[in-house]
């Protein structure tokens, strides 16, 4: 491939690519993101390739393995273009039928379509499925249309036109002004204005400056950065290059977790391709601007998501944060000005340059502009990645897009912002999503994890869970975080084990205050949030644990017991066979009884007991009823013959 030396040559190349593509030609796209990969999309891919060949359709149909489509709950997903027929939960066995029916005969296969649970109506087109219909997929939308390993696919959708525009028609100052005007705020956590960060670095003294992509996505339950990097890596490279031009940097880094091997692979391929085409390297598009990007793999430390810790890790040392009296934008990697932004932030930049800040500021609320990708997970019907305009309500996300709570359970809270965030209760479901709105509610935007919890989730246990996570991830450099978290975890663990005592809540509040004020970095300063927000909205649950030794959600193992209601038990043997600790006594026509001494409280009996009997019960805060005497356990069944 010859290098592209000017914006005009880029447009020529794009025309060439598009002229070879017939928009009416059939194309099967298959989601090959990590989540679908885990539900065997690789096997589906193999059988699609084989089947196309077998049925002699190689010339008539294209096949593309794309990045994440977002609707992970129903993966693997196939979308057939140009009609946009969407098939869900595809298994390799379905493939021959899809090729012979839909591709050859133009027939839609009903059973693979999405069924609207409220109307039982089958929905053919991807964009009409409620999960997609209510989204605004500006950043994430291309994921489902391009093969992340193909730069031509990205170019066909207008890729690198923003870079060409910035380099040829704008000064670096104008690029900066545009980003400032857009009010783009960091998508990785704090929501710091991106333009201001860039400006600080641009004005900082020093010849050598760095730009960095933060892809050390560590919040449990959040995976949108990974899906972007895996599915559309060029959009991030383009954004990063534009940012480098704006601040005058010639070296960039992508800091990505080694736990994301596919992201590492795809972004490495993308960099190589971009270098070949001349979108990276010396004299990019003939503008005289030089820029290179290196990939650095993170070795697994949550704290490395923090800017100064990440930069220390980039230098090849243990990633411990430092006090930031001087911002990293002025003194970052090797004490040189360094701009660090999250994956999603960088991916927004080409859009802003292409369509303008005025267009961008029309989307969202007064202080939070644009869209945000959330990973909607937990107790929700439609688990997946959703991109919505800022200002949408939590209710619209959880019920409109997410399809509500499974199993007819009651919504309890939604946790946002990862371990630094908090839990938002039912009464705030109409809260508008935005940086400041979420902070006011005691949580935060964070990187965009949204974990839905139902009535079976214990909020004290959630607080304990996050403290456990943070204690493990604290780097240990400063005392308030290292010791404070440990003590908080100890107290919270005691509470969930029924060993809580009066005064515990007050002690936790005091520890929270110290850790919040005196910790070195944001990890420690925000660590008390999960506790504080659950206390704010669910104080009664804390009190029930401490005073009554009762877990209202029947979740804390030490505070619950399982028992089988002798009136309901039909001696069906389901639980008896499945119990891993052989703790269930009974037999055919003998009512089952749990031996409480043997029971490990794994909950298997509760899960396998047929719902029509619902004999296995979970109880908390009350003694287990004593087992009925042996002679009363015999069930005499009426003879079927009269």
């Amino acid at each position: 491939m010859a290098r592209i030396n000017s914006p005009a040559e880029l447009e020529e190349l794009r025309k060439g690519i598009l002229s070879k593509r017939d928009p009416n030609k059939r194309c099967i796209t298959l989601c090959s993101g990590s989540a679908c990969h885990a539900s065997s999309s690789e096997e589906v891919a193999v059988s699609i390739e084989e089947e196309i060949k077998k049925q002699g359709l190689s010339a008539e149909v294209d096949f593309r393995k794309t990045g994440c489509h977002g609707f992970c709950e129903r993966g693997p997903i196939i979308v057939i273009h140009p009609e946009e027929i969407c098939y869900l939960q595809i298994e390799p066995e379905d493939v021959p039928e899809i090729v012979s029916q839909t591709i050859k005969e133009n027939k839609v296969i009903e059973r693979l379509l999405y069924t609207d649970p409220s109307t039982d109506e089958k929905i053919i087109h991807e964009s009409e499925i409620p999960f997609y219909k209510n989204q605004e997929r500006l950043v994430f939308g291309s994921n489902g249309n391009i093969d992340p390993k193909s730069i031509d696919d990205y170019l066909a959708l207008g890729g690198y036109s923003a870079l060409a525009k910035a380099l040829s028609r704008m000064t670096s100052g104008q690029v900066l002004e545009e980003v400032k005007k857009s009010n783009l705020r960091g998508r990785g956590g704090g929501g710091f204005p991106t333009g201001r960060k860039w400006e600080e670095s641009r004005n900082a003294p020093g010849e050598i400056k760095y730009v960095i992509v933060n892809a050390d996505e560590g919040d449990p339950g959040a995976y949108m950065d990974r899906s972007l990097l895996e599915g559309n890596p060029h959009s991030i490279l383009e954004g990063l290059t534009i940012g480098a031009y704006a601040i005058g940097s010639h070296e960039g880094y992508i800091y990505v977790r080694q736990e994301y091997p596919l992201a590492v692979e795809n972004v490495t391929i993308a960099i190589k391709k971009a270098e070949e085409y001349g979108f990276l390297g010396k004299n990019i598009l003939g503008s005289g601007f030089d820029f290179t990007i290196k990939v650095h793999q993170g070795a697994g430390a949550f704290v490395c998501g923090e800017s100064s810790a990440l930069m220390t890790a980039l230098e090849g040392r243990a990633g411990e944060p430092r006090p930031k009296y001087i911002h990293t934008a002025v003194k970052g990697v090797w004490d040189r000005p360094s701009v660090l932004n999250n994956v999603e932030t960088w991916a927004n930049v080409p859009l802003i340059i292409n369509k303008g800040a005025d267009w961008f500021t029309q989307i969202g609320t007064e202080k939070s502009k644009g869209t945000k990708i959330f990973s909607l997970v937990g107790k929700i019907n439609h688990t997946g990645l959703v991109e919505v305009p800022m200002g949408i309500t939590l209710r619209d996300i959880i019920y409109g897009i997410g399809g509500g709570i499974p199993g007819g359970k009651r919504f309890k809270a939604v946790q946002t912002g990862g371990p630094s965030g908090g839990c938002i209760p039912e009464e705030l479901l109409d809260l508008k999503v935005g940086f400041d709105e979420l902070t006011k509610a005691g949580s935060m935007m964070g990187s965009g994890g949204m974990i839905v919890m139902d009535e079976d989730t214990c909020m004290v246990d959630v607080a304990r869970y996050f403290l456990d996570f943070l204690t493990d991830e604290s780097c240990g450099k400063c005392v308030p975080c290292r010791e404070g978290m440990r003590q908080m975890l100890k107290i919270l663990t005691n509470i969930t084990k029924g060993k809580g005592k009066e005064g515990d809540i007050e002690l936790l509040e005091e520890l929270s205050e110290v850790a919040g004020d005196a910790s070195l970095c944001a990890l420690g300063r925000t660590a008390p949030n999960p506790f504080l927000s659950t206390l704010r909205y669910f104080r009664d649950e804390y009190e029930a644990h401490i005073r009554e030794k009762r877990c209202p959600a029947c979740s804390c193992k030490e505070l619950i017991s399982y028992y089988i209601d002798p009136v309901e038990c039909k001696a069906c043997m389901a639980c008896l066979r499945k119990c891993p600790s052989e703790a269930i006594v009974g037999g055919k026509n003998l009512i089952h009884v749990i031996d409480q001494d043997k029971c490990t409280k794994c909950g298997t009996c509760f899960e396998v007991c047929p719902p029509r009997f619902a004999a296995a019960k979970k109880i908390s805060g009350e003694p287990v009823p004593s087992p009925i005497p042996l002679e009363a356990r015999v069930i005499v069944r009426e003879s079927k013959e009269k």
Binding site: S34, A38, Y223, E259, G319, S375, Y465, P580, T600, G603
Partner: protein, 150 residues
Amino acid sequence: MKNDKIDRIIDKHGCEPSSLIQILLEIQSENHWLPKEALEKVSKKLKVPLSRIQHIATFYKAFSLVPKGRHEIHICMGTACHVRGAPRVLDTVKDLTGIKPGETDLDLKFSLETVNCLGCCALGPVMEVDGKHHGRMVPAMTADVLRNYD
């Protein structure tokens, strides 16, 4: 681990002290753990004190200073898996294998680790064995999955 293999990895990264983590990651991924001899070699070639290498090898989760079992079990403890019952899955696996997270059994059959999010929350709770995902786990299913490995 063979000496020339370590040399090759170090040379690939240009013998730069700033590439220390990348070098260790590659040794870890080839060898599944970091033997002392390998660390000494890296220390000598990069001219980085062994104490700093130890600091890094114990700081980051990806590194292991002890040999791993033939099969690596990763149980996702991400928030989504947690609220869907991952702790109960972990408890059952601990009972079945007799080891705790971070440990390897005496026969070097299984190593057990917890991870903070595998990014396939739709399948939660997830248990990963040797890179293969087993989704929607319940305690009763774990024994059937582990039986397939020896």
